[in-house]
Every structure is written in C-alpha cells, then in structure tokens.
C-alpha cells in the first residue's frame, strides 16, 4: 500500500457514564482516502465513539487529533468546520425545505450578493455538488417528497460541500447504518458513489450487515464492550471469524442464570394468530406457554419491534388476533392490554418507562393505586408498605422510597420499572432490551428477576442487546427477517444454539 497519512486519530479515549464504562482506552485511526468499517454488537461503544468524533459528547480522557493537530470539538457544527460529519440514521434534513435549501442550510452566507441570497449562484453550486453523488432530482423538490436514498445523498453532498467551504482537505464522513433504509439497487449505487468519494475523503461505515462491511471497506475495526478487539485489512477478512470476534469467546455458562431456567408449564398463555401489519410484518402466528421466555431476534427493520408493539397495544395491527389465556384482547389500546395483564418494559426507560420527576414509590405504585386505598382514598402507609416491599423484592438501591427517580442509577431505574409491573398482577411481560445501558451488577439482578418471574408463571417476550443474552435467557427463540418469521429454535438448557448459527439466519 502507498504511504498514507492519518486524517483522524483517537488515542486512548475513555468515556464513562454513571455505572457504565462506554469506552475504555480506545484507539481509532482513519487514514486518507479509505473506507473503514466499524463493527461491534449493540452496546459495544460504537455510538459513543461516533458521538465523540462529531463533538456531541466529550471524552473523559484521551486525545483527539485531526490532520496531526490536537482538537477539541465543541459540537457537530464545530466538527463540520473541521471536516468531520455524520449522516444520521434518521436523517437530519428539514422535511419541508427543498433539496437545495437543505444542502446549504445555515451556511448560505457565501451566496450573498448585495445583501440578498443569489439563488442562481446557489443553483450552480448545488448542481455541481450533487453531481458528485449522482442526484439528478429537481433542486426545488421538498425533502419530504424524496426517497430515503436521495436524502442520504443530499446529506453526503452537504458534508462534502461544507468541508470544501471550510477548506478542509480529505473530510471524514461517518455513515451510521446507511443501508437499512435502502433497496437492493440503491445499496449498490451507494457503494459505487462511496468508492468514488473515497478519492477525496475518508468514510467510516457502520453496519450490522457484515457482508456489506467486508465487501466495501478497506479496513475493519472491531469493538467489544468498549474496547478495541482487533483490526485488519478487509481483504483478509472472513465473516465467521468476525462473528467470533464480535461475540467473543467468553460465553460464561452461568452468566444468565441458566441453572435457574425452568421448563415452562403446559398451559398456553399467549396466542398470536395471523397477526400482521401492512408493510411492516407479514401474518405471524405463535404462542407462549405459562412461564416461558421467548426471545424475538432479528435486525432493526425485521418487524420484531412492531410485533411487540401490537402485543402491548402501542401499535394497531391490520389483521389477526391476540389472546391471553383464551381471552381475546382489544387491539391497539394500551389501557386494554394493561388491564388484561400484559406488561411492558420499554427500551427507553427515561422517556417511556418512568415518571422521572416523581418518587420511587409513586412509580412503583402506579398500577396498583386502587389496591392501596382505605376508606376510598389512597392511604400513605399502605403506599409506603407496598413500595418498600417492592424495593426489597427487586433490590432497588435507593436512599429512600421517596427518592426522586431521576437520581437513581440506570440499573436501579430499570429495576423500578420492573417493580412497577411486578406489583400488579401481570401474566405476560414484554421486555424490550431490559439490560440496555445498565452496569454488570444491575444486569445480574435483572436476570435474577426475570428467572423469578418465570418461576411465578409469568410468560415473557424478550428482545435483548446481544445474541448471547437472548440465547442465555430464553427457552425458545423466534427469528424474524424482513417482516417474516423465518425460524424457531429451542434454547432449552441442554442445547443452547451457537450465536453464529443464528447470525446466519438473521442477516
């Protein structure tokens, strides 16, 4: 290889959050004119690394160098000035403005003629910038009317143009899961364009699709648990090895309390029949036995989230039925499903699981207030009693039952959410990434609670952060891909499947 210069260098960057070390002395280098693939499981630290790269968060320790000079990036706008930009998974364009307006948004100053913006000059520049990414749409089309592929290209073009505006040689573009929203044909186009752009820029590519990474990057960097695992030239990569490195070998048998795993009872608890939602998932049928833990796995966009949304009443399916203990549920209404005994541990506990400004007791008692009454009114001693019982049972570490939830650690907040559902009589619990962002100790506690729930005959549908966790916790696994149920496998204690077999089914 030619002698290339590094454009961007992170040295021993560390970032910790209360109770969790997100990045532990990570080194990361991006060379001139290369595509570097960054892979790792959810929670491996990819997002934190990206946030540091674009100045959204500041590292606790370590050095950040651009083109050989140490820098401190205050925010994404500042990063753009240094020629580092990110194409967001959800897009950061303004939907009701046109392609051209979005392209130059908040940097129009260069087009000022006699105090007014010269639309003609803007048009010329826009056409030339967009030709780089092969976008030929009308410049005045509102972004809302364009396809995701065009939006992505406009974002890439914008970043390229900004770096030119600020005279930054060889900008660094970060693409976070760029292909999830694209069709097969659009994916090919994207990679053709990226290869072309590579001549004047470096690209960091993040994707769950390993083939894509191996096929299109020059170098691959693997993160695991916030640490560098390895990096190698893509030419020498093989997918099986990457999977191994990603998941790691340390598959401790006792980690998920497998010895406490029980055989579910024979009684059927939940029955889902021909449930479907147009354009999201095809008719799906499955059932859960009492005390059974079923893990739903699949990529983002496989439809697993929507299936869970339909079961919890947050989303309305187009067809099909859901019954709990032979009673059909009213669909699309959380208050009905909660009344029927279906609980839900949401993925984002701060915005969906807790009243953060209220006390632990208030949160724990939310569903059972009617049972904590004396003479028709809520009785504070009963409230306190129930709260203390649940705090004890779920081992929530809190200074008192009247502590404000916002002040608890992530793990204890999650335990509070679980306690809330536990204190009411639920029969089915949907756990959406129950251990996301909690530290190891709290994880243990959450696994323990899950096992206890199963023993009490509560059925559970789980979606976990890692495949290991899914395999370790569940009795049975349902694999979804592109809106379809593609496989079902037993995860009984005797024969837990191998993560790499499942990855093959998912991708």
């Amino acid at each position: 290889m030619k002698a290339k210069k590094p454009v961007l260098e992170l040295r021993r960057v560390t970032k910790s959050y209360p109770g969790a070390l997100a990045l532990d002395a990570v080194n990361f280098t991006v060379w001139e004119s290369e595509i570097v693939g960054l892979i790792g499981e959810n929670g491996a630290g990819k997002s934190t690394l990206m946030k540091i790269l674009i100045g959204l968060i500041q590292p606790d320790a370590g050095q950040y160098e651009l083109r050989g000079n140490p820098v401190t990036l205050r925010d994404p706008a500042n990063a753009a000035r240094h020629g580092v930009g990110m194409v967001f998974q959800e897009g950061s364009l303004v939907p009701n403005l046109s392609i051209m307006e979005n392209l130059f948004l908040s940097h129009e100053i260069g087009f000022r003629r006699f105090g007014f913006l010269s639309r003609r000059a803007m048009r010329e520049t826009a056409t030339s910038v967009l030709s780089l990414v092969k976008v030929t749409s009308d410049l005045d089309t509102p972004i809302a009317d364009t396809t995701p592929a065009v939006r992505q290209m406009v974002e890439i073009a914008r970043l390229m143009w900004l770096s030119r505006l600020y005279r930054q040689e060889n900008p660094v573009l970060i693409l976070d899961e760029p292909t999830t929203v694209l069709t097969e044909g659009e994916r090919k186009t994207l990679f053709t364009i990226l290869t072309e752009i590579k001549r004047q820029a470096s690209i960091i590519l993040i994707s769950h699709r390993l083939q894509e990474i191996v096929g299109n990057s020059d170098r691959i960097v693997i993160l695991k648990d916030g640490r560098n695992v390895t990096e190698f030239e893509a030419e020498h990569a093989n997918i099986a090895e990457i999977e191994n490195r990603m998941v790691g070998h340390t598959f401790a048998a006792e980690r998920y309390r497998e010895n406490e795993q029980i055989e579910p009872m024979n009684e059927i608890a939940l029955e889902v029949r021909n449930l479907s939602k147009r354009g999201v998932f095809e008719p799906i049928t499955f059932s859960l036995r009492k005390g059974e833990i079923v893990s739903l796995v699949g990529l983002v966009g496989s439809g697993k989230e929507a299936v869970c949304g339909c079961i919890t009443g947050l989303e309305k399916p187009d067809s099909g039925t859901i019954s709990l203990h032979r009673k059909k549920l009213a669909l699309g209404s959380p208050s009905e499903t909660v009344r029927a005994g279906i609980g839900h541990i949401p993925i984002d506990r701060r915005s969906e699981g807790l009243a953060l400004g209220m006390t632990v007791a208030d949160n724990v008692n939310l569903l059972v207030l009617d049972k904590l009454k004396a003479a028709g009114l809520i009785n504070p001693p009963l409230e306190k009693k129930n709260a203390l019982r649940m705090i004890e049972e779920c081992r929530i570490k809190t200074p008192s039952f009247s502590a404000i939830c916002a002040n608890l650690s992530g793990g204890n907040q999650q335990k509070t959410v679980i306690a809330k559902w536990l204190s009411s009589k639920i029969q089915l619990l949907v756990l959406d990434h129950p251990t996301r962002g909690v530290d190891v100790g709290a994880k243990e506690e959450i696994y323990r609670l899950i096992r206890n729930l199963a023993r009490d005959g509560i059925s559970m549908i789980i979606m976990c952060d890692t495949l290991e966790e899914d395999i370790g916790l569940c009795n049975r696994m349902l694999v979804m891909k592109d809106g379809r149920l593609v496989s079902e496998m037993s995860c009984s204690l005797a024969r837990k499947p191998n993560p790499s077999d499942i990855i093959a089914l998912i991708v």
Binding site: Y17, P18, G19, A20, A22, N42, G43, A44, G45, K46, S47, T48, M50, K51, I54, L56, I57, P76, M86, F88, Q89, E90, G91, S92, D176, T312, L314, P334, S335, E336, T337, V338, R339, H344, P346, D348, R350, S351, E352, G353, L354, A355, L356, G357, M358, D362, L366, L367, L369, D370, L377, I378, N379, A406, N407, G410, K420, R436, G437, D465
Partner: protein, 332 residues
C-alpha cells in the same frame, strides 16, 4: 442538527441528569414559604398596621379568591397544560349568577357550577379531540366566554334586592369565621384530597410528569385531561361566585386580572410549568404571596408604577428556581 439517535448506552439525557444531581435543589415550597415570611416581616416593618385585623382580612379575602381559581389552574398546569380561559369563564359566571339570581333564586349557584364544569369539559375535549395545545385551545374558549359575558350584560349588574337574604348568608360568619373563608378552606381540602389521594388525581401527576409512560401504562390520558380542565372550570366558577357575592354585583370584565394572577399564584408557589410537580399547598402559599405583595406594596407605599415590575421580578425568580430545565432542551 437533529439529536443523534440514542441507540445504545447511556443517553445524553443521563448526562444532563447527572450534572443536575450534583447541585441538589431545594424544594420549591421552602423557597416559597421563606419568601412569604420575608415579605410579611418587611411589610410589617414598613407599616405596623400591615398586620392589623382589618388589613389581614383584606389580604385573606383577596387571596381566598385567587386561591380558589389558582387551585383549578394548578390542576391543568400539573398535567403540563395551562388554562387561559379562567378569566373569560369568571366574567361569564359572574354576570350569569346575577341574572339567574333574579329568575331562579338559589338555583343560580348549581347552575353556575355546571357552567364551570361544562366549560372545563369543552376545553378538555377540544384538547384531546382536535389535538391543539391547551394554550391555544383555552385562549380561544376564553375569548368566546368573554364575549358571552359581554353579550349577557355589557355593563356591571347589581344583585337584585330579592336576593340580599341569600347573599347575607353567603357573606355571613360561622363561629367567628367568615363563611367565604370557610368555603375556601373546604375547597382547598377538596383539591388537596382529590389530587393527592385519589387515582384520578394521581393520574394528573403521572400524565404531567411523563405522558408517554402514562399512556403506555394504561392511564386514560383523555379522561385525565378532561378531569383536570373540569377542576379548573370548577375553581374558576366558584371563585367568580365568591367575588360576585361579596361585591353584590356581577361584572363582565371581572375575570381579566385573574388569568395571569392565577398562573402567577401557581408558579410562585413552586408548581413547575412543565407539569408533574407541585400541589395544593404550593398554590396556597403562592396565593398568599401574591395577596401579601399586592396589598403590602400599597400599604408601605411602593410607587404604583413600580409594583408591576416587582411582581414581575418575583415571578421570574420563582420560576427560575422551580423550572426543571433538564426536561426541555429548547426553550420556546
């Protein structure tokens, strides 16, 4: 630029919360009580007659009305909304009460109560069905009610002599306590109990604190909102009746001052505008603070031109101390 997707690991909000944790904030209610005590002391130093029986009576009767309308206002602020229609509603109820007293006598009181509840129900329904923010919805209904009040009676009307007997009872005393003050006490206890010790009241707090979580936990958001706005209508109607009775006359512009005064009483007492925290006791202190300030500044002879600005400063400072900035990234 859009916020990065909070896909994995601890989120940005967490960072905000941890920095927030470092300086443990003093509960707003202590600040409010301290403010009240300091003001009473200052005004008493300024004029010894501040604590005279006559003056205390003036303060309490003003604070009482403000408290009753404020308690209703607080219910809507607790769910994260606001009720700007209390002013129009008070004006309307005021003139309707006087006119109705002429024709249906004592039945005028339940009539006015139902007008208040109905107005609140309509506000809540507009909010949930048409899905527009309460700020706008109640601005609109408030305007309608103000017009209705002027259509019923463009000028102030006096209570008919035939109703004097009835009003004398309302304005009378029981074991040395004015009936209106006792009524205020009853309403205070009513709100205190409803908000603190019933499921419907708690649901107001949950909804205000985190509406998405409340919905996902099966709380009927629509009903909770309607309930909060009906409480507000009830408070405004009773406050209007109290003032109308004590003045022996209805006024189609009476409510105007209470729109901002009621909001001020709520926030000065320490109920956060973001919803979810605060309560009846806070509003009691808030109403007293405003009553004491309004009266005290006159008693010690603060220049009338200055009074509004002092009031303004007090409001800004109290909201600054109670407002939960961690909840809102952008202030609009």
């Amino acid at each position: 630029m859009a916020e990065i997707k909070e896909e994995e690991g601890p989120s940005i909000t967490e960072k905000r919360i941890t920095t927030h944790r470092k300086r443990e904030r003093i509960p707003a209610i202590y600040f409010a009580i301290t403010l009240l005590v300091v003001m009473v002391v200052l005004f008493t130093i300024g004029n010894r007659n501040f604590l005279s029986a006559y003056n205390v009576n003036t303060i309490t009767s003003y604070s009482a009305i403000l408290l009753v309308v404020g308690l209703g206002q607080m219910s809507t602020i607790l769910i994260g909304g606001i009720d700007l229609s209390v002013g129009g509603l008070m004006s309307f109820v005021s003139v309707v009460l006087v006119i109705a007293l002429k024709t249906i006598g004592a039945w005028a009181f339940p009539l006015c109560l139902s007008v208040g509840l109905m107005a609140g129900y309509i506000n809540g329904t507009i909010l949930t069905r048409i899905k527009i923010p309460s700020f706008i919805a109640t601005l609109g209904t408030g305007g309608i009610l103000t017009s209705l009040a002027l259509l019923v009676s463009p000028l102030p009307v006096v209570v008919p002599a035939s109703s004097y007997g009835l009003l004398d009872i309302v304005n009378g005393t029981l074991i040395g306590m004015p009936n209106l003050l006792l009524l205020t006490l009853v309403i205070f206890i009513f709100f205190y109990v409803i908000l603190g010790f019933t499921t419907a009241g708690r649901n107001i707090y949950y909804t205000g604190s985190n509406i998405k979580m409340s919905w996902m936990s099966g709380i009927d958001i629509r009903r909770t909102r309607n309930f909060a706005f009906m409480l507000s209508g009830l408070g405004a109607a009773i406050a209007a009746m109290m003032q109308t009775c004590s003045q022996f006359g209805g006024d189609p512009t009476m409510g105007k001052v209470y729109i901002l005064q009621s909001i001020a009483a709520v926030v000065v007492g320490g109920t956060a505008l973001t919803g979810g925290t605060g309560g009846a006791v806070n509003t009691l202190i808030g109403a007293l603070i405003l009553g004491v300030m309004e009266n005290g500044m006159n008693v010690v002879g603060v220049d009338a031109y200055f009074q509004q600005s002092i009031l303004g400063i007090v409001i800004i400072v109290s909201v600054a101390l109670t407002f939960d900035r961690s909840k809102t990234a952008m202030i609009k």
